[in-house]
Amino acid sequence: MTTAVADAHLAHDAEHHGPPAGWRRWVFSTNHKDIGTMYLVFSLLMFMIGGALALAIRAELFSPGLQFVEPHFFNQLTTMHALIMIFGAVMPAMVGLANWMIPLQIGAPDMALPRMNNLSFWILPFAFTLLLSTFFMDGGAAAGGWTMYPPLALQAGDSFPFTIFSIHLMGMSSIMGAINVIVTILNMRAPDMTLLKMPMFVWGWLITAYLLLAVMPVLAGAVTMLLTDQFFGTSFFLAAGGGDPVMYQHIFWFFGHPEVYIMILPAFGIVSEVIPTFARKPLFGHESMVYAMSCIAFLSFVVWAHHMFTVGMPLTGQLFFMFATMLIAVPTGVKVFNWTATMWRGSMTFETPMLFAIAFLFLFTIGGFSGLMVAIVPADIQYHDSYFVVAHFHYVLVPGSVFAIFAAVYYWLPKWTGTMYNEKLGKLHFWLSTIFVNILFFPMHFLGLAGMPRRIPDYSTQFADFNAVATIGAIGFGLSQLIFIWVVIQAIRGKGERASAKVWDNPKGLEWTVPSPAPHHTFETPPKVSTEVAFQ
């Protein structure tokens, strides 16, 4: 039977295989690898644009007084930096990785819904062209913060409906992506891959996809209500019409907090893949990792109001949200301990992916500590909307999610391109990024504790020194990313050693059973999950 299948397979291959040439390959693509590549390239482009905005912000904040931009434009910069980094850089990067790796890791030939896959990617360039075009509209881009709190968000220029529409588009793209991930994972696993045998990256994404499905419509609803408040005479959030501005914040953060985990759970998955490979040891507590992630995902739905401890909630409400938020530290701690135990008594080597994973471990833990601090309500009242919070969420997002994405790219790049990246430059990229990211974000803790509010273009002179340090870190971090781009381009151009199918020293997982570079079509017949590649 096997021979028959193989023969049929070969005949089929001969007829029409390999990608179509030219632009059709990309625009009409239904191939998970090509779509994954497009997602990743798009995300890198957005990372650069969002980074440029961040550098403009840091340049203005280098010293007190206004040097480069007007306050209104500064607010546009902070708002757009956040929207672009969250929806344009981190989320599409994770979806790109999901596209490439989920079918390869579960032994599926492609994503379950390939045409929808194409659509969900191709919405994004339009959504972000629209979003970026708002910079050139009368009144400039959205300037009320990425959280778009009314009534301030309604004091916008012509860009307002366009910004909302672009968020709708991003939401549609995310929802389609999430449906695709869920359907693929639940239906297309290799026959003997049970749910608990799935690689951790797939698990992280399965949970993430459910979160996306649950909360993106909530965001869409919230911004639609803003739209009708502005143009159709409703008063959902306008006190003058009997509405409630705080209700918006509740709805927004009901989306916003799970959104935080949408950006970090796939990162947890990546780190759980990388550390065992380079420690040459199975992941410690495979099952407890799954339970911890599920716990975090569940808790993410009942902690939203910890973003709003200063709005004036009833005491019982504040107590509930404080305790629930503190609970998140438990599963998060379990994960950190599991990763540490995975390294314990391993046989470790420190290639670039491992370095980024270890930096993730250390720096995400620091972000976790400040996360615990902001859970304590009386203290949070002081941290809230100060640079302390800016430091906290950048620690979990940049050396958290973004470093995990770097780890993933270095880890799987040889599989994607068939070429080993330049290890020396990779390590240089790692060291520069890690040093500068701390110079950039660590001083922000001090600024916040000293009383500097966030989202201000100018500040009193006592905040000057740490701001100058942060700006130097920002420039260094920004420039270091050029090395990353160069390393990736060289690998794509095939400049470097050929990569073997396994790439690393005996890594686990089905993706290492296909050749490098992974052929255009893989696993047209379901593979066998041998003990060789299985996780348990």
């Binding site: 007190p64 007084g65 206004l66 007007e70 607010n75 300037a143 009320g144 709190y149 009534p151 301030l152 006190a239 509405g243 409630d244 501005p245 705080v246 420690a279 040459r280 040891k281 199975p282 992941l283 410690f284 507590g285 099952e287 407890s288 200063t310 004036g312 005491l315 107590l319 404080m322 503190m326 530290a329 438990v330 701690g333 379990v334 950190v336 301990f337 540490t340 390294m343 314990w344 008594r345 391993g346 046989s347 470790m348 270890i358 250390f362 833990t365 500590f369 615990l372 601090m373 304590i376 009386p378 009242i381 002081q382 909307d385 009383g451 509010p453 989202r455 100018d458 500040y459 009193s460």
Partner: protein, 260 residues
């Protein structure tokens, strides 16, 4: 974080330091283990990989210990929070109203009310290419024309609201930050134990000039406060007129900017 000058700010500071030291302690242990394993268990030192992948006892322990530590943290935090929320029986009530972009202070018991805006010197220096070095401006961006004046030792209840968008009234030394929300009246309280001038800023993004609406609270001796109240009442008519004129100009200016 400043220790501040009220009982509540001191408690908040202690909570902050307590959680901070817990984090440092946990951090030292966890990072020490990580660094130890990275140094010792590397292939370049010929370390062979063990193959264990779970240990139920250990996992129960490192789930239980964080729960205990969290409980230790949660109790004082909850106590402080309960105390923070108790704003009954004040000696003095002031109503703070946020505007784009200044504060309005109202003493309903004394019939005093006035606007508090960024002082003129900072306001000149903050402009792009103003030619004024911020370092030459005393309390750059943290000075106002009319500060909020309150007596030392009195329980002051602050009722906070807004007339336009959401602002937040923040004075770090008093450990107070509360959103000023249109249509809502939020209440906080403080009892300043030391006289002096305490500075803060608007903490919730409120538009173009969000950075330029500082909060200044002057805590004075009770006698000085009484004298201040008298003086305010005397000059009230003149004050009100000038306030209104200033408000009119500002509103007109804002409409120019907004283009309507």
């Amino acid at each position: 974080m400043p220790q501040g000058v009220s009982e509540m700010s001191l408690q908040t500071y202690r909570l902050h330091m307590q959680v901070f030291w817990w984090c440092v302690a946990i951090g030292i242990v966890v990072f020490a283990v990580m660094i130890y394993t990275m140094v010792k268990h590397r292939r370049s030192r010929g370390h062979q990989a063990a193959q264990f992948h779970h240990n139920t006892k250990l996992e129960v322990v490192w789930t239980a210990i964080p729960v205990l530590i969290l409980l230790i943290m949660a109790v004082p935090a909850a106590e402080t929070l309960v105390e923070l929320e108790y704003n009954q029986n004040p000696d003095l009530t002031v109503v703070v109203t946020g505007y784009q972009w200044r504060w309005h202070y109202d003493y309903p018991d004394h019939d005093i009310s006035f606007f508090s805006s960024l002082d003129a010197r900072s306001n000149q220096a903050r402009r792009k290419r103003s030619g004024i070095d911020p370092y030459q401006v005393e309390n750059y961006l943290l000075e106002v024309d009319n500060p909020l004046v309150v007596p030392r030792g009195a329980k002051v209840r602050v009722l906070i609201t807004s007339k336009d968008v959401i602002h937040a009234w923040w004075v770090p030394a008093l450990a107070i930050k509360k959103d000023a929300i249109p249509g809502f009246m939020n209440a906080v309280w403080f009892r300043a134990e030391e006289s002096g001038t305490y500075r803060g800023q608007c903490a919730e993004l409120c538009g173009m000039d969000h950075a330029y609406m500082p909060v200044v609270v002057e805590v004075v001796e009770p006698e000085a406060f009484a004298a201040w109240v008298e003086a305010q009442r005397g000059g009230e008519a003149a004050q009100a007129a000038s306030d209104q004129a200033a408000a009119a100009t500002r509103i007109a200016a804002r409409h120019d900017i907004a283009g309507d």
